[in-house]
């Protein structure tokens, strides 16, 4: 029982990230509405960003801006490398969401609906041939 508490409950941050990740994962796969899938993708990406920044935190560390007083007092800095990589990843996530939303608008213009099951029915009835 002690092993259980020490190894698993002591890392509660980890479980918050896992719960967020699984919520997003369920939203991507098992929901019908296309907009809900895009929101699930965003939640998944947010959980990944939080986990990556968590790996670089230092207990008792301050924000990574160099200052003479802080060096003299002997404080620690948090690791700035994950922040740099996640800035790039956030911009990629914004770009992906923008293109996905414009695809949903085009699908709505073509088929008149956003539910995935109705689109599959219409596709199977239509026998789509490539138009030029």
């Amino acid at each position: 029982m002690e092993w259980f508490i020490a190894k698993i409950f002591a890392k509660y941050n980890y479980w918050v990230f896992i719960i967020l990740m699984m919520i997003g994962f369920y939203g991507i796969i098992a929901k019908d509405n296309l907009i809900k899938k895009i929101i699930g993708l965003n939640i998944f990406q947010t959980a990944i960003f939080l986990y990556f920044i968590y790996l670089g935190a230092v207990k008792g560390g301050t924000a990574p801006i160099v200052d003479e007083e802080i060096i003299r007092k002997g404080y620690l800095y948090t690791n700035p490398l994950p922040h740099v990589l996640i800035l790039t990843a956030i911009v990629v996530s914004v770009a992906t969401t923008a293109v996905a939303l414009s695809l949903v608008i085009r699908m709505h213009q073509e088929y008149g609906t956003i539910e995935e099951s109705e689109i599959i029915e219409k596709l199977s009835k239509e026998k789509v041939t490539p138009t030029e």
Partner: protein, 176 residues
């Protein structure tokens, strides 16, 4: 869609079991000596071969041979760290334009019977020498725009491409 939901829930339960199994190796929150923050251990050696050389600040042959065998550059200078434990810093020579200095690369520590050789993480140089090399206080900014400038160039290209592809998809043909 009942089948898809049940399949998803089973997959989520399997993944959670995998995450519980892996939870032992996740580092404790905020550890000061964790590998991404301070140093990565390379190998350990016997004490009597190297300690006498290190105390006189001469590079021992066995250390250089072991390092070169594993593909790391050999050290050129040793200096002793003042403090509680018995530790040394080993530096290597680098060739950089305008900054052709030596860089503090290895961390050698004596623990009981063995001598542990580890390599400093790259972030240590980033934190300590950033203000002197770039005269910008913000660590994240000089990391994004100077040390990792290529990544930011590709990043700006990505967002430009996203804007262009949204225009192509929605095909604005009339100006409002």
């Amino acid at each position: 869609m009942n089948g898809l939901r049940i399949f998803t829930i089973i997959l989520i339960i399997l993944l959670c079991a995998l995450f519980i199994y892996v939870a032992e190796d996740i580092p404790v929150f905020g550890d000061r000596d964790a590998p991404p923050i301070k140093a990565v251990t390379l190998f350990t050696m016997e004490v009597d071969q190297v300690v006498s050389f290190l105390d006189q600040q001469i590079v021992p042959e066995k250390l250089s041979k072991e390092l070169v065998k594993r593909g790391f550059p050999p050290p050129s200078r040793i200096e002793k760290i003042t403090g509680i434990g018995i530790e040394w810093n080993a530096s290597i020579l680098k060739e950089e334009p305008h900054y052709a200095k030596e860089e503090r690369y290895y961390w050698i520590k004596k623990e009981g019977d063995k001598v542990r050789v580890s390599r400093y993480a790259f972030v240590v140089r980033w934190i300590e020498k950033g203000l002197e090399e770039t005269s910008v206080p913000n660590m994240v900014t000089y990391g994004l725009a100077d040390y990792r400038g290529y990544d930011t160039l590709g990043e700006t290209t990505v967002i430009f491409t996203a804007g262009v592809s949204v225009i192509l998809l929605l095909r604005r043909r009339s100006r409002l």
